[in-house]
């Protein structure tokens, strides 16, 4: 795998900033006036109780939801909403809370699909599957194989992902996101429903991705142990509002956060 390219932002500077974003569905306020930033090269955790608006936040970041107010600055460009296509082009990849793999396709095809944006041969060459189309296909297969090796999923390469166990599906999904060679990787509960061993494996992958490829990662996670171990900075949401932001230790000792988790009356 190659390190992400095309980014002029140095490590440690702000890669993505969310400013005063609000989002509501009908009368339900999912996110209320939230601002935070993600710096290049860090692992940023977004935590909070159920229904705090974490997934909605990710959906705003990669353009699936349109916020009613606020703006998003990504790689120096400010806009009031992202479009899914722009987000993907700009280098934001994503995994989902309930695995959103292409169930009818093999693990290999799923990962190859992640390389779609980087493949360019049009219908003409595809029809003949020869010449440039085949060269391109093999070149990207090589990249896909690197990811397969990295995630240790060689044995399930040609199996339809719909038939894989949950833990492996999550891994393939991470592979598909990595295949996009993203600058920013959004992970929505990458370890939900996993046993201890699987969680350890997944944590290792997340750290490796971050350290070896310098990919910036934003993750939502409920397992506090994992969050505290992995992340550089943590933002805490509750009822759609930001209640804390800082290093894992600061957040851990924050009174509001403890109240939110233990359920003190508001």
């Amino acid at each position: 795998m190659r390190a992400p390219t095309g980014s002029h932002i140095a490590a440690g500077e702000v890669l993505l900033a969310v400013e005063n974003v609000s989002l509501s569905f009908g009368g339900v306020h999912a996110i209320r006036d939230v601002s935070f930033d993600i710096r290049k090269g860090e692992i940023r955790a977004i935590i909070g109780p159920n229904g705090a608006g974490k997934t909605s936040m990710l959906n705003v970041i990669n353009g699936f939801y349109t916020p009613q107010a606020g703006q998003i600055t990504f790689k120096g460009q400010t806009r009031s909403k992202m479009r899914p296509f722009e987000a993907a082009r700009g280098g934001i990849a994503r995994t989902f809370q309930n695995v959103a793999l292409f169930r009818g396709m093999t693990a290999l095809d799923n990962i190859m699909a992640g390389r779609t944006l980087r493949m360019h041969r049009g219908l003409f060459w595809q029809i003949f599957r020869y010449g440039p189309a085949m060269t391109e296909e093999v070149e990207h297969r090589l990249r896909a194989e690197e990811i397969i090796d990295f995630l240790h999923i060689q044995h399930i390469r040609k199996i339809q992902v719909g038939r894989l166990p949950y833990g492996l599906q999550k891994r393939v999904e991470l592979g598909r996101a990595l295949a996009m060679e993203p600058d920013l990787l959004l992970l929505d509960e990458p370890m939900a429903g996993m046993n201890l061993e699987e969680k350890e494996d997944m944590s290792r992958f997340v750290l490796d991705v971050n350290q070896h490829f310098g990919t910036t990662i934003a993750l939502i996670e409920h397992d506090m142990g994992v969050v505290m171990d992995l992340s550089d900075r943590v933002v805490v949401l509750d009822y759609g509002q930001k209640i804390a932001d800082g290093s894992p230790d600061e957040v851990k000792s924050n009174k509001t956060v403890i109240d939110a988790y233990l359920g003190v009356a508001h």
């Binding site: 959103a100 292409f102 009818g104 396709m105 190859m112 219908l123 595809q126 296909e137 093999v138």
Partner: protein, 357 residues
Amino acid sequence: MFYREAGQFKTDYASDQAVFPILQDRIGIVVIVLAAYSLVLAQNDFLLNAMMIPFLIFTLAAIGLNLLTGYTGLLSLGTGAFMGVGAYSCYKLTTIFPGVNIIIWIIVSGFFAAFIGVIFGLPSLRIKGFYLAVATLAAQFFLEWCFIRIPWLYNYNVSAAIEVPQRELFGVIVTGPRATAETRYLIVLTIVVVMTWMASNIVHGRIGRMWMAVRDMDIAAELMGIRLLPTKLLAFAVSSFYCGVAGAMLVFLWYGGAESTVFSINQSFFVLFMIIIGGLGSLLGSYLGAALIFMLPIVLRFVPPKFGIPVHAATVEHITFMTVGALIVFFLIVEPHGLARLWQIAKQKLRVWPFPY
């Protein structure tokens, strides 16, 4: 025992990315294609004209629909009309430019169908599932109406039908009443084989993966940078192209003449049933499904009399409808991936036979 891949090592990704990575499969394909061509030698008009030619033409239409419904997940009930667009454009083209090779016009008429397909595919951005099915019904009924009410399309013939003119290719009569079944069969077979090969290339490459991604999880596909509208429209275009060519061949190389009823909603269902029974998202399934649906009435018509049971033509039709309906439900329940999956399972069994463990 003979169906083994042991010992066939792939040394580069190009050979592993091939459509048929296993040697026996490649040999099998070659044998089948050669056998299909050698049917010409049989000199059997019934075999070619009543069975093989229509079977191949419907297979092509089924492949077209399968690209759209099976691979991209967009349900279309307008197949019949798109086939009609191909047939009528081919008729107009060869009327206006009689000197040009008819095969070229058959292929070119596919582009007209593709164009119309794209126009009626535009709503697919905002709607899916049965909403889209209703939208394609609009295409079906509107185009059918055009075939009846625009006399220019059928050259103002009194019969209100396409009457296929005689066309020659290198001195051999290709279309019209005097063309031999052998000639027409060879042309149909060649076109279908080449277009199957192309479809197989497309679905195994980048575009095929984009289609399947849209089918399996359109939201995830979008968030990965696959733009939904162009992807879906491309599927509509390619699919309608295949249907258009099939429609043109249906009239020019089989019927020899046709009126609008040939391209009715029933034709759309006919083709849809082929891919449901054959297997959604499988090219092989298009062949198997077309064979089953097409052969069923023939079998019903000719087999019972052999055992001394007389059947009326009408009864055959009724029983065909019933059987097809029951088969649809049966396959959706028991094996949603159709005959193609049954074949795969058989192949897997064969691979490990006689020692399954």
